[in-house]
Amino acid sequence: MKKFWHRPLIAVLLAGMACGSAWAADYPSEQDYFQELPVVLSASRLSQPISETPNAMTVIDREMIVASGARNIADVFKLVPSMYVGYENGHTPIVSYRGITDAYARRMQVLVDGRSIYLPIFGQVDWAELPLDIGDIERIEVVRGPSAASHGSNSVQGVINILTRQASAVPKAQASVSKGDAGVSDVSARFGGVGEDWDYRVTLASRADSGFDPISSVFTIPLNDNSRTQLINTRINYRPTGSDSLDIQLGYSDSSRQLGDQNPTPSSNGIFSTLRDQKVSSDFEQFTWLHTFGGDSDLQLNYYHIGRNTKDERYSMPCVSCSPDLNLIASGSYPVFDDAVIHRHDLEMQHTLHTSPTNRVVWGMGARHDSATAPNNLRYSPTWREYRLFAHDEWRIAPVSLINIGAMAEKNALGQTRVSPRISYNHHLTPRDTLRASVSIAYRNPEMAEELGNQSVRLNNVAGKQWTWHNISAAGGLGPEKAISREIGYVGQLDEAGSTLDVRAFHDQISNIIWVDPVADPNSTVTPKSFKSDFNAFYSGLEGTLNYKLGVRSRLTVNYSHQVAGASPSRVSPVASVNASLISYANKYSQTVPLNSASMLLSHDFYGGLQLGAGFYHIDPVRSLDAGLMQPLTRYLDFRVAQSFGGWQSKKGRSGGGEIALVVKNALSDHYFDYSTQTRHKRRTSLTATLGL
């Protein structure tokens, strides 16, 4: 339906007259020229272009998300250089920047529309049960590198910033159904409306699958990782005046996930992960009020609450072939309840202002209140309060050079105050070529589980000795991990079409990395884990992204990362075995990053509404410190073919008409495994039909 007129052509577009003003519906009037308009792109809404940001940044837009064929939000991050994406099981993806030390990617902040979903107790993001449908994501910005000065604690290695679609940008109504291998059965429906001073959108979605196939040849234990998630999500934008905008977002999700083994393993020291359904429900409420003072100054108040309720109840079973001693100690069936209730309240004020045409300042303050009740995982039910004060200045010292300078001062829940500064200098060699150099410091606060973790189950009393299964026993007294990062980068525009190249070399040093410290408990069947500042580590490397536009209809993105890491113990333990394990871990640390990793996404729009997307991924061997085996070299290919019909079609969305899409994951059928050695990624095909109004 696109019409192009090329020179020298005179075209007359059809007759009739637009109504002009309130007084006369017959003629076009001058009112179009004199109408008052609210300031829309006010100071806080204007983002920095990639060539002027203080950090390297990867932007993944809707077009790329669609072309990648990703069904889970986590899979999208495979398109970020140096990002690790793996699966613990079918419903527990692991997303981690700079390799992977353990299943909880702790050194990265994750935000959805400014709402931190990096949650207490363990410090992780539960990607599978987020009350957010992938179809509602407008774009994802990934800050590669520490950004505590702008995004607060835990922005140690990077920040993921997920931006959802504006209430007004959603079609009137749309429904989508997917069916595929591994029991994939997804349904989503969304609708929205646009009014004079308000817009809204609502999404209802349900996702279900039967997880991974177990590796039958190696393990005889069937893997149980079926899952089902249902969610509702709404966004309402209300504009009472031209200078005020209130954004309300609400969401709720409910999921059921299978965990555990059908048959107990003989070597579990008396506690088994029995087969059960873990139930998780999450909700959030977010209110953002933006007031614009003319075009040069904005005040934003943001409040949100996140609630999360986990029910995970398992029982131990008598050991089948344990030693006679252990049979006596753990002869019964003991409840292990990992139930948890979390509440997070966060309030933030942010003021953005242009102090001059060449200077923009963002400053503000915030407070966070996290509470958790997890009787079987924490010593007590803590309430953690954090306070922060931040300022960032973007100063264009000359038309060709820009300085970003900022800092955040933060008082964490343990009463420790830290200041995270950052300074960067961007120099435009030409309007198309920019060099960037930056230095920053960031901190990661200890998680509740690291400071207050306690997991213990009472077993039998044998000969006057009360035995326990004491898995975690945190001694406390931890301090934040500290990262110093230096980078130099280049951002270049390659051609008129907008192809870009972004390369950077980095060197990060992280000190006081918190890791496991075994403690003695003579009454426990297992050695309890405490946590201590164990390591100092470094990461250096080179990473880059090429976004190449091959004409209007094709796009190629290539990401590459070369990284090395190393660590040394930061302490000496009086216990020789602890020292030995520290040294052993430090030696393995270099394996937590893949030496080379790369991803490639090609998308092409054929004439007639046919679209093709193909993604190829490569990861060199990598090992997580808490997983057993080394993940070998992994390579796989995903592709998506879609045909749209009827209505209005565009690369980024459909309105009216519909679309049929075929997605094949791991098309070359390399039976690879990643984080978990119990699972196999096999070829998976799914079909999605979408119909819109």
Partner: protein
């Protein structure tokens, strides 16, 4: 002695001129659509321009309303109608030549078409509020030389007459048939355009839509070129438009010329225009903009080249 005689000579010349002019005083009736600032600014600037021209013109101002009568006050030689409402009334009620100002070309032509049967004989002319297409495109070319495809969005019942495109430029014009497909069409236009050019179409560019259009085009990193300062303040990359003061100056010249020959020239586009740019938006979009003066200079040069 010399100075005295000069003054004498000068004052007698003025006296003479005044007498001559008095006999020929042009009675102008200025009808404003309403009393909002744009019309008030126009009126003030017109009075200033006429005063500066020293022509003997008497202006009586009134607002368009059901009670506006041609017979009020003195005899009228020429009606200046500011705005469509005033123009419609002036054509209907006055039997003297009417010059419409601050009206879009489409409005003017539609009005004449409808009134053609009634009062064909009466002389009418106009200074349009719109910028000519050549100027708008030349502005885009001068300000954004790398932005080759211009996106246009119009409601299906708008009538637009598209121009010859300058070399290297192409147009991606799409119409929205209903509110439902508005965003799909907008996305489609933005996907295939380097710049979005606003046209006066109140069905598309209503104040609530402008917000969403600006946000969506910004997300697509496509700059928007507006039709007034309000657009630039709201977040457009730039705009080219004529302010009431500039229109008043041109109107003043036309009145002076009318006083001399009692004839109205052909309807014309504004001669004077303003270029306004939003540097903050430009920075954010990674666009390097020249100063308005440099852009104007380049437009002039391109214009000479074409001629």
């Amino acid at each position: 002695m010399f100075r005295q005689s000069t003054i004498l000579l000068f004052s007698s010349a003025i006296a003479l001129l005044a007498t001559w002019a008095q006999a020929e005083t042009l009675n102008v009736r200025l009808v404003l659509s309403d009393s909002t600032p744009p019309y008030q600014q126009f009126s003030a600037a017109l009075n200033q321009a006429l005063a500066a021209s020293k022509a003997d013109v008497a202006v009586i101002e009134s607002q368009a309303g059901p009670h506006t009568q041609p017979g009020e006050g003195a005899h009228t030689d020429l009606v200046i109608a500011a705005g469509m409402k005033a123009m419609e009334l002036a054509i209907a009620k006055f039997d003297v030549p009417v010059l419409g100002v601050m009206i879009p070309r489409m409005g003017y032509e539609a009005l004449l078409e409808r009134g053609s049967s009634q009062k064909r004989s009466k002389a009418t002319s106009a200074i349009y509020l719109d910028q000519p297409w050549d100027r708008r495109l030349s502005f885009i070319q001068a300000a954004l030389p790398k932005h080759k495809t211009v996106g246009l969005l119009y409601s299906s019942d708008t009538h637009i007459l598209l121009p010859r495109l300058p070399r290297g430029m192409s147009l991606n014009a799409q119409s929205t048939r209903s509110a439902e497909n508005f965003f799909a069409t907008l996305e489609s236009v933005l996907n295939n355009s380097d710049v979005l050019l606003v046209i006066p179409d109140s069905e598309i560019y209503s104040s609530s839509n402008v917000r969403n259009i600006l946000l969506t085009s910004y997300r697509h990193q496509v700059p928007l070129i507006g039709i007034s300062q309000a657009y630039v303040n709201a977040g457009a990359l730039g705009a080219i438009f004529s302010i009431p003061e500039q229109l008043a100056e041109q109107t003043g010249e036309m009145i002076v010329s009318f006083a001399r020959n009692r004839r109205l020239p052909e309807p014309q586009y504004p001669k004077l225009f303003t270029i306004s740019l939003n540097q903050q938006v430009a920075h954010s979009l990674g666009i390097v903009l020249d100063s308005p003066e440099a852009i104007r200079e380049r437009m002039d040069k391109a214009g000479e080249g074409r001629q």
